[in-house]
């Protein structure tokens, strides 16, 4: 019989990444008990590779690379449905914003939206409210 060695470590749970997410979001990640209500009501869930409750779990576990490379953090539009329904009063949208902030601040060319890629006709039709909100959320 082969012997498998499993090493259990709490180092990731105490990583600077977890502390940073909690600090920027102003939330306690460990309050989440995975009821899934955030994901059940999320209007953007069909467009996400990781669901909101999974994002919280992965943030608890310090899974920085997977989270910051996901499209889910960009699909969230801060509609706040998750926040208003969370039985533990965790502000999930704030956690996701913290992840976006960390991705945007990680380098000089990490903007998610390049306005020069939007066709001129689309750009001309867009109201200021659309342009400004997209730039505020998707660029550094």
């Amino acid at each position: 019989m082969a012997i498998t060695t499993v090493r259990i470590s709490s180092s990731r749970l105490k990583s600077p990444f977890v502390a940073n997410v909690e600090r920027i979001a102003g939330q306690k990640l460990m309050a989440c008990y995975q009821c899934g209500k955030c994901s059940a009501g999320c209007p953007m869930a069909p467009h996400m590779d990781i669901l909101p409750n999974q994002m919280i779990r992965m943030a608890q576990m310090g899974m920085q690379e997977r989270l910051l490379a996901s499209n889910a953090i960009w699909a969230c539009v801060s509609c706040m449905t998750c926040n208003s329904r969370c039985p533990k009063n965790i502000r999930i949208a704030e956690v996701i914003e913290a992840l976006r902030n960390m991705a945007l601040r990680a380098g000089r060319h990490n903007d998610r939206l390049n306005i020069q890629d939007v066709p001129p006709a689309t750009l001309a039709a867009l109201p200021p409210i659309a342009m400004i909100s997209a730039m505020r959320k998707l660029t550094s």
Partner: protein
């Protein structure tokens, strides 16, 4: 006493129909409205990061302008401006360090902000100050038979600190429509997000949202949908062509600002409606109820 009015950027551009119908309706209600002097962009979307003080500067500057006008409150009809200004106001009242930093940044202004201005949305002003009973008494052209789906989106009801009605099932717009003589219809998706700024870089998400939300209004046999946000209006009205490409069964419906229906009911001049700014022309739907 004049009511200070904050229009916001989009109401002076793509949503001039929202601006003129707001101002014209208030005149019919004998509320003297004065546009805030030297207003600037509200900041558009509240920054959620606890360490983001910079994005509070734009909204707080406007609150200082209100103080300069010797007022302690002001009204806006744009749901985005309301939400951003109100949340920044709540935030800086809780965090004196952030407020200190902002006041230091605004060293050219003589007046400092001290959390002493109230942000009001037009809907709550109509309900709490004018009163829907008084408003109903001023109706000259009741919206008889008009079936209206009231869309709140996110910004009027979330987060709960800014909501002036029930978070899950608000009824304030329905009550306004009833006061105007119209028939509000049930609307399951009235607080579901339209996709917001994804309209810039992810149009397919907005097409999907528009298809579902407008489809839900159509299932309730609504004649039209009313909104309070120019971003929702843009997505739900101008993105109907994309929704139709996604779903050939999609049924076009006009999208109006609630102030436009108020302007019609209160007997405002046609110039207060600006239907030329719409993608789906509201006039045929209104004409079936004898309102155009």
């Amino acid at each position: 006493m004049k009511l200070i009015y904050y229009p916001g950027c989009t109401l002076k551009n793509h949503a001039r129909n929202f601006d003129v119908s707001t101002v014209s309706s208030m005149a019919e209600l004998d509320v003297e409205v004065e546009e805030l002097e030297r207003w600037n962009c509200c900041g558009t979307v509240h920054a959620l990061g606890s360490n983001n003080v910079m994005n509070r500067v734009a909204p707080v500057t406007n609150l200082v302008r209100v103080k300069e006008a010797n007022a302690s409150e002001f009204m806006t009809s744009c749901a985005m401006c309301y939400n951003t200004l109100k949340r920044a106001n709540i935030d800086v009242k809780k965090r004196s360090d952030a407020l200190d930093s902002i006041n230091k940044l605004m060293y050219l202004d003589d007046i400092k902000y001290e959390g002493d201005v109230d942000v009001l949305h037009l809907l709550e002003y109509l309900r709490d100050r004018v009163g829907f009973d008084k408003l109903a008494a001023k109706v000259k052209k009741p919206l008889t038979g008009l079936r209206v789906a009231c869309y709140y989106g996110c910004l009027l009801v979330r987060p709960k600190e800014v909501a002036f009605d029930d978070v899950e099932n608000p009824m304030i717009m329905e009550n306004l429509i009833t006061a105007l003589g119209g028939t509000p219809v049930p609307f399951n998706l009235k607080t579901e997000c339209c996709g917001a700024y994804h309209t810039v870089g992810n149009a397919e998400i907005v097409a999907d949202r528009t298809n579902k939300i407008m489809g839900s209004a159509h299932e309730e046999a609504a004649d039209l949908v009313v909104v309070s946000c120019p971003l929702c209006a843009f997505n739900l009205d101008f993105k109907q062509a994309d929704a139709k490409r996604l779903n050939p069964e999609f049924h076009h419906l006009p999208v109006l600002y609630f102030t436009q229906l108020m302007a019609i009911a209160l007997g405002c001049d046609e110039s207060a409606l600006r239907f030329d700014l719409h993608h789906i022309d509201p006039q045929p739907a209104l004409a079936t109820r004898g309102l155009a």
